[in-house]
């Protein structure tokens, strides 16, 4: 785990080499070994210096999150943190020079170990990542990272690294003062490490030297002090106070900056224990670590050994969605045929990629050559024959059954006989569309989110006839374009569109009841949703909602089922009557002033049309908007639309931005407490109607004390 070797110059090299994992991690086993190594170092009296490096491609990935997730006792977090940090502290205070020879990525606890070294040298590989991303899992760098970063580069410069988890390349790390030196390769790295030790008989950290002054000043320095009042406000503006970690980090940084190193270390451990035992970290680790890793590793993929890889993808329909899909495919090295009804339309779709690539070049993220290469992978055409040889075709044409049937036939005529045909629809059931296919087993739904080049999720929809092999292929394709797949069964609105709609409809219902529109929007944002329900409705357009409802009602009538009533539709109808269709029309719940730079604002006419006659508490509004999504998700689970908890949680966050700190729609129920959730849902049911009715399966869970 940690190899100890001493050379002829009496330089000890500690090589991190986790035998069980592909990366080095800080966990209990590491802690034990680290303690032994420290004892050995202490006993070894003729040491000239110490080099810490790794036998892996990376230096160290950080803490063992699984182990951390399993622990829930504050005292134990505090004690373990303190013990690890005592070891780090020993390294930096024992007197002999210590060099972190960073052969690769050093993140979290890995970089914190480096920070305890007197010199940090990294191989200049642009792919290497250096940083402290703990905040992204609701934690703080509890291995001395906050205390040392503040002392190393100062309060203000360290905050982006600490509160945003900003990761940098070795070059950027050097220019930001995080490391001291770059090396060309491993030999150069070790040679430089050695040279530093041979040149320096002893070493002390800057903060342990007499006359040390914190770069930029301490919180008591007037220049720093005057920034303190606004810093938490800026955080509140960004997070709506839903994320405790960045605030805790700020507190550790500031509180720790006016006390001595050891005291600061204790403060850091206390806040760490608080975060690590809190719900938000548990929710975020659960979804962004455990469940996401599981999904990406194929959790929802059929157990088919063969992995599929695609070469040539056809995209039919070069609108916003098709263009985004084409870009995502080309970026991942796939050949793309982008087909539209006219050459002009297809060219326009390709221009979308061209613009995005130009931006990447101007931002220095890519080179002109690479960008050209990627763009050349896209063939824009109006000729269906160009789709020949595609092993996957995705149609992204308008949501119209006849049109979709037409392009399906057109594509199947020329594509690979074994290829997959995918429909990117957000509303039309896949099974029905597949009926028009000559190869329904090879027909699948791939629901992308707009803008498809950015959004990380693809919802794979299994039609009645879709084969396991087709599903496995679809899954592998989504992975190939570096997106996260969730798998759902066919149903109206599938999972994401169906549950997403409940959020906005609930928001609109609140308006119908007489709540203040701005208070509704504020509640939506504070609930953790990325956009308020009314603004979101404007984005999607009210006419689309009306359209979906009409289609749904027709379908339900045809099936002989009852048509559900929702107060929201009274508002939607009234708005449409007044020609307020949404953002695209420049008028919806908001006004969209045409002057450049002018911000949208709530339509003043709302006060007249939907007067503010009641003020529900904010908590009531928040819970209604979140509960309705969670209950609908449970229904999807019961109806087998959803088959796994990770699909539900990841889909909700990546698909429509459900409150990430709650860990997803099902994790929210765990977070709330299943029994408490049921009791509260019953109250909402009694007050607001059937849509809040508690599914039997959920009641049973509550009775059994089972979480999702």
């Amino acid at each position: 785990m940690i190899n100890y070797s001493k050379d002829s110059d009496n330089i000890v090299t500690l090589t991190l080499d986790n035998p069980n994992r592909s990366a080095n991690l800080i966990n209990i086993a590491f802690g034990e070994k680290f303690r032994e190594v420290l004892a050995q170092l202490q006993a070894d009296t003729d040491i000239r210096g110490i080099i810490i490096t790794s036998a892996k491609d990376t230096f160290m990935a950080g803490a063992d999150i699984d182990e951390l997730f399993a622990e829930s006792d504050a005292q134990s977090f505090f004690d373990r943190g303190q013990e690890l940090k005592a070891g780090f502290r020993y390294l930096e205070t024992q007197g002999k020079p210590v060099v972190a020879a960073m052969n690769g990525t050093a993140l979290g606890g890995g970089f914190e170990l480096c920070l305890a070294a007197h010199r940090r040298i990294a191989i200049d590989n642009p792919k290497t990542q250096i940083g402290l991303p703990e905040v992204t899992l609701g934690l703080l760098p509890g291995g001395g990272g906050v205390v040392r970063m503040v002392r190393l580069i100062g309060l203000q410069p360290s905050l982006p690294f600490l509160t945003e988890g900003k990761k940098v390349s070795p070059k950027e790390a050097l220019s930001n003062g995080l490391i001291h030196e770059l090396a060309t390769d491993k030999d150069d790295l070790l040679a430089k490490a050695k040279a530093y030790i041979l040149e320096n008989k002893t070493a002390k950290q800057p903060w342990d030297q007499d006359g040390y002054k914190m770069p930029g000043g301490t919180p008591l320095t007037p220049k720093v002090a005057q920034m303190l009042p606004i810093a938490p406000a800026m955080l509140a503006k960004k997070t709506y106070n839903n994320y405790p970690a960045p605030l805790a980090i700020m507190a550790v940084a500031i509180e720790g900056a006016v006390v001595d190193f050891e005291t600061a270390t204790r403060i850091e451990s206390r806040y760490f224990a608080k975060l690590a035992t809190g719900n938000v970290a548990k929710n975020m680790i659960n979804v962004f670590w455990k469940q996401l890793n599981g999904l990406n590793a194929g959790g929802s993929r059929p157990k088919i050994e063969q992995k599929y890889s695609f070469k040539k993808v056809g995209v039919i329909g070069a609108g916003m969605m098709g263009s985004g899909i084409a870009y995502a495919c080309a970026m991942s090295g796939l050949e793309v045929v982008l087909k539209d009804v006219s050459q002009e339309g297809a060219d326009k779709g390709k221009a979308y990629s061209e613009n995005l690539l130009k931006k990447r070049v101007s931002k220095g993220k890519s080179t002109k050559e690479k960008a050209d290469e990627i763009l050349n992978r896209i063939k824009a055409t109006a000729d269906a024959n160009d789709l020949a040889g595609c092993d996957l075709i995705i149609e992204a044409v308008f949501e119209n059954r006849e049109l979709k049937a037409k392009v399906t036939a057109e594509a199947e005529a020329v594509m690979d006989a074994t290829g997959v045909f995918a429909s990117n629809t957000s509303t039309l059931p896949i099974t029905g569309l597949a009926e028009k296919s000559s190869r329904p087993k090879q027909f699948v739904g791939l629901h992308f989110f707009s803008p498809a080049d950015k959004m990380p999720l693809v919802e794979i929809i299994i039609g009645k006839e879709t084969s396991d092999e087709t599903l496995a292929r679809a899954f592998d394709f989504v992975k190939q374009i570096k997106k996260t797949p969730i798998v759902v069964n066919d149903s109206r609105g599938f999972y994401t569109s169906r549950v997403f709609a409940t959020y906005v409809l609930e928001g609109i219902a609140l308006l119908e009841e007489g709540n203040h529109p701005r208070a509704i929007e504020a509640a939506g944002l504070k609930a953790g949703m990325p956009v308020g329900p009314l603004a979101l409705t404007d984005e999607v357009s009210l006419s689309l909602f009306a359209h979906i409802r009409t289609q749904t009602n027709l379908d339900l009538a045809a099936e002989g089922k009852a048509i559900p009533q929702h107060a929201a539709y009274r508002v939607v109808d009234k708005m449409l009557e007044m020609g307020r269709e949404g953002k695209a029309k420049g008028a919806g719940f908001y006004e969209y002033p045409k002057e450049s730079g002018a911000k949208k604002f709530l339509w003043p006419g709302l006060a007249e049309q939907f007067p503010n006659t009641i003020d529900l508490t904010e908590q009531e509004m928040i819970e209604r908007m979140l509960f309705i999504q969670c209950i609908e998700t449970v229904r999807c689970f019961d109806e087998n639309v959803l088959m796994s908890v990770p699909d539900a949680n990841i889909g909700s966050i990546f698909g429509w931005g459900f409150a990430p700190f709650k860990g997803g729609t099902l994790q929210y129920i765990n977070d709330y407490g299943v029994a408490k959730f049921v009791a509260r849902a019953k109250e909402l049911h009694a007050k607001y109607g059937e849509r809040f009715a508690v599914p039997a399966s959920l009641e049973q869970r509550a009775a059994e004390g089972k979480e999702y």
Partner: protein
């Protein structure tokens, strides 16, 4: 019930609170010491051994204003060593709080004669330089939803519909009334000109009153709190005030209180001690109250504290002849006026801090003198003094001429 009487009230003129301000050269302890000497002189050099305590409000009690300036200011002025002293801080109302505390000391029967007042040399000790957990500690700041007072003032204006024009008109009124009062000598009774060690005059009137103020020049000033508001504080305010879609930043240096240097003292005592020292009571302190409202909107405390003081006094708003509400920000005064339904001709009748400035720790005590002088000049009886205070607090005092 034992009563507390006001025997005297004095103040320095207010100097512009900048390096270029006339009082910038004067140490805050000297501002106070000159007032102590003036009180002695105006009251027949009474026996200062009969004074129990000195209570001095100061909001930035650090450096030369730190270390209990109350005790050392009176000793520096030559008062007897038996007189005690303490400095207090209730932000902008510190000077009035000192008066109220003095009244409570007297009414308790445990003390007989108190000097209460305040001092703030803002040109030498910048506002906020003493720090504070409320805004500098991230956990506290975040939990309490801290925003600067100026943003709070703009929030009030937004909610109440006070437009830029309305607050500017109020500011213009302050300058006009203050200029008129100065010209006609209404302030002369209280003002003690500040002099140097040779007796040479440094400043004898309030330096920031603009006789030439007009709407056009006020309209030219840029909003003071727009940038910081848009950066972050508006969003914090909106976390609580969720119906506010956009905060209208109407406050400028022209319609907010000025930053100035100044000090004020009052002499407060029992009837018996006053008689023993041969002093003539000018007014009775009828009631005093402190309370607090929401700390984010912050400046709405005065109406609540005024209502509390009125209730204690068994009075209604109509029973007050003159109101003095500190002009911290135009919207705060207008909000107070709206809450208590006060006629224009009863409120801040000689202008206020928008024209003359707000030396934080001293203002409350200054306003006691201002109201008392005006009641005497116009032969009226009752006055109510109130200030909005950081953290949402409000302090109010009712006085009655005797």
């Amino acid at each position: 019930m034992r009563e507390a009487y006001i025997y005297d009230a004095v103040r320095t003129p207010r100097g512009r609170g900048k390096k270029s301000g006339t009082l910038n050269e004067v140490r805050p302890i000297d501002l106070l010491a000159q007032l102590f000497r003036a009180i002695s002189e105006r009251n027949g050099y009474f026996d200062t051994t009969k004074v129990d305590d000195v209570v001095i409000g100061c909001v930035t009690p650090i450096g030369e204003q730190g270390g209990d300036i109350a005790k050392f200011a009176h000793m520096y002025a030559g008062w007897d060593q038996v007189v005690s002293g303490m400095q207090i801080n209730r932000f902008c109302s510190s000077g009035l709080e000192a008066v109220n505390l003095a009244a409570m000391k007297i009414r308790s029967g445990w003390e007989e004669m108190i000097v209460a007042g305040g001092v703030e040399s803002m040109s030498r000790n910048p506002m906020g330089s003493d720090g504070g957990a409320w805004y500098m500690d991230p956990m506290v700041n975040n939990q309490l939803g801290f925003i600067p007072q100026g943003v709070s003032a703009d929030l009030i204006a937004t909610i109440e519909g006070f437009t830029r024009e309305i607050v500017d008109e109020y500011a213009l009124r302050s300058h006009r009334l203050a200029a008129h009062a100065r010209k006609n000598g209404y302030f002369n009774k209280s003002i003690i000109p500040v002099r140097d060690m040779n007796g040479l005059l440094i400043l004898d009137n309030d330096e920031t009153i603009r006789e030439d103020a007009n709407m056009a020049s006020l309209a030219k000033l840029s909003p003071s709190f727009e940038m910081m508001g848009e950066m972050a504080f508006d969003a914090v305010a909106q976390l609580k005030y969720t119906k506010v879609e956009k905060i209208n930043h109407v406050h400028t240096p022209g319609n907010s209180s000025g930053i100035v240097d100044g000090a004020a003292l009052t002499l407060i005592g029992s009837k018996e001690m006053g008689a023993q020292l041969g002093l003539k009571p000018r007014a009775r302190i009828v009631s005093a109250a402190v309370t607090s409202a929401d700390s984010t909107i912050m400046l709405t405390g005065p109406s609540f504290s005024a209502e509390k003081a009125l209730k204690l006094a068994g009075m209604s708003p109509k029973d007050i002849d003159i109101y003095e509400m500190n002009e911290a920000f135009a919207s705060a005064v207008l909000k107070f006026q709206r809450e208590l339904n006060i006629d224009d001709d009863k409120l801040n009748v000689n202008g206020g801090a928008i024209a003359m400035g707000h030396p934080l720790g001293a203002t409350g005590a200054m306003l006691v003198g201002t109201v008392l002088d005006e009641l005497e000049r116009t032969n009226k009886t009752t006055g109510l003094i109130t200030l909005c205070v950081g953290g949402g607090m409000g302090v109010a005092t009712i006085i009655e001429r005797v």
